[in-house]
């Protein structure tokens, strides 16, 4: 019994000793440690697509009227967008719709006829053949689609570069920044008669719409990230594309990281001429330098930027 008593005391001592030994190594609260940071702090993470490889997306606007087949018409707008995720930059390159180019299997034709003859795939093949750039995705929409998408996101703020009054397209705009609804954005995108450079200026304006959409998307995402769903849904309801939804989401998140002020909006330069008995655009030799430059990283160096048709960079 005496032994058990001794053991009990030793056990108690062991406990105290153990606790004391443990306490010796315990870090004391350091006065130098920062106190509570009262006030606002922010943390965010966007799963943008990683890597330095550029992403190329071909945006096509069909001139199909309501009730017509979207991919059985001609393209009123063709824009190749190169995105550089690593640099958070991008380039929008517009192709004049009358560009006289080689369409695989059809010979030289106006670029806007490729959609009619072979759908989006043939347009992709045509642009790839022209530029040497491998296109990752395409998206096709229509007059109705543009109106619905713009209205679905509450309109866009566009900086109208020049007075635009044209009964054919319905444009009626004084110059300057203004909020446009879906119908107005469509008119703005279609009008070439009001612009001194015609279809070149129109293509640049269509690029302006892309940038306005990016600016608004980014602004809305910053203030309310859940708006991304509204944009994706509005887009997919009105766009024909083979891109799966999860990839669309990845691209959408990536777009939130791109500053519209660091996106170059250019139009492939060329001159008007005649071919096949009709008026066409003959692309200039500078186009090759633009395509070669863009192929590497999706971006175009300042030295290769062509003049702005509407004087936007002047």
């Amino acid at each position: 019994m005496t032994g058990r008593i001794v053991i009990a005391f030793l056990a108690l001592g062991a406990w105290i000793a153990g606790s004391t030994l443990g306490a010796v190594g315990q870090p004391q609260p350091a006065e130098a440690r920062p106190l509570l940071q009262i006030g606002a702090a922010h943390a965010d993470y966007v799963p943008a697509i990683d890597g330095s490889d550029p992403i190329f997306i071909l945006f096509l606007g069909s001139d199909a009227r309501p009730g017509e087949s979207v991919d059985g018409a001609r393209t009123d707008s063709i824009h190749l967008v190169g995105i550089n995720p690593a640099k958070h930059r991008a380039t929008v390159v517009g192709f004049p719709r009358d560009s006289w180019v080689e369409i695989p299997g059809l010979g030289s034709q106006k670029i806007n006829t490729a959609l009619f003859y072979g759908g989006p795939d043939l347009v992709v093949a045509t642009v790839e053949n022209l530029t040497g750039i491998r296109i990752d995705y395409w998206a096709l929409t229509s007059f109705d689609g543009i109106k619905a998408m713009v209205n679905g996101v509450g309109g866009l703020v566009i900086d109208v570069p020049l007075p635009m009054y044209d009964s054919a397209s319905g444009s009626n705009f004084d110059p300057g920044r203004q909020r446009l609804d879906g119908r107005d954005v469509l008119s703005f995108s279609r009008d070439r008669h009001s612009l001194p450079t015609g279809d070149f200026g129109r293509s640049e304006n269509q690029g302006q719409v892309v940038l306005a959409a990016l600016a608004k998307f980014r602004k809305e995402f910053t203030s309310d990230p859940s708006r991304l769903f509204t944009w994706v849904a509005a887009g997919l309801r009105n766009v024909q594309t083979a891109v799966p939804l999860d990839r669309v989401l990845s691209l959408a998140f990536t777009c939130t990281t791109i500053d519209p002020d660091r996106v170059d909006n250019i139009v492939v330069p060329g001159t008007t001429g005649s071919a096949g008995g009709s008026s066409v655009v003959l692309l200039s030799s500078q186009a090759e330098a633009i395509f070669a430059d863009m192929q590497a990283d999706g971006l175009v160096a300042t030295k290769n930027l062509p003049p702005s048709p509407n004087g936007l960079r002047d």
Binding site: T2, G18, A23, I38, Y45, S226, L228, R237, D246
Partner: protein, 243 residues
């Protein structure tokens, strides 16, 4: 005969010792082994408790209770890439809101309410709730997404949690849930070691997707806006329970 009281037993032994010398007694090897084991056990128990809820917490009487907490779902909103009637899709969104809310409740409980985590600034149960690249990002932003690594130095108690969330669910072409976003408002009262109360406020949006491990966060945008000056008396969403 020895008395029943341990104290009496000791007195009796000492008394007997004065009259009848007790020969020195050698402890058997087995007893020494037991003693060594007990010393080791004492050290181990101390260290384990210190790293967990803390033996100091037990010795000092610190509360290790996790306040009961559940986010209140304000609404579940379906957003479809098709033109389907949102009313028809409401049930799908509500079904997703359940597991999404469970994830968010667990995340905030582990990040702000469990004393075993915030007392030693270790939030290992939080990070697995983030998927993909967001896990590393979340750990880097740990002081905003949790009570903070130094919370144990500053606070004695965190209580009175309240939280509400809205869940938006993006549905694909087949009206299947593709992803969801939880729009979260959370607050709790943290009592400092000087007795000062601080309203802990976390407002944010968490994008989640379904994985084999459940609905996990893959993107987030969260703002902490704690306020030491304006701690009102929030009514707790539920009463605390001991764990």
């Amino acid at each position: 005969m020895l008395t029943q009281s341990p104290t009496g037993t000791l007195v009796r032994v000492l008394a007997e010792g004065r009259h009848r010398p007790i020969p020195p007694r050698r402890l058997s090897p087995a007893v020494w082994i037991v003693l060594a084991a007990l010393v080791g056990l004492g050290v181990v128990v101390f260290l384990v408790l210190r790293d967990g809820s803390g033996s100091t917490g037990i010795l000092d009487g610190e509360d290790v209770t996790i306040p009961a907490f559940d986010f209140r779902v304000v609404k579940a909103v379906p957003i479809s890439v098709t033109a389907a009637d949102p009313k028809r899709l409401a049930g799908i969104a509500e079904a997703v809101a359940g597991p999404v809310t469970d994830t968010m409740t667990l995340l905030y409980t582990e990040a702000f309410l469990d004393p075993a985590n915030w007392r030693d600034g270790s939030y290992e149960e939080v990070w697995p709730l983030f998927d993909g690249g967001s896990e590393a990002a979340a750990q880097q932003e740990g002081d905003t997404l949790t009570l903070g690594t130094t919370a144990g130095d500053r606070f004695d108690k965190v209580d009175l949690p309240k939280g509400k969330l809205t869940v938006k669910v993006l549905l694909d072409e087949a009206d299947e849930p593709a992803t969801a976003v939880a729009i979260v408002t959370f607050q709790a009262v943290a009592t400092g070691k000087d007795g000062t109360d601080t309203m802990i406020v976390s407002i944010g949006q968490y994008f989640l997707r379904e994985t084999p491990e459940g609905w996990l966060v893959y993107s987030f945008s969260v703002t902490r806006d704690d306020d030491q000056a304006n701690v009102s008396e929030p009514s707790p969403s539920t009463s605390p329970v001991a764990t």
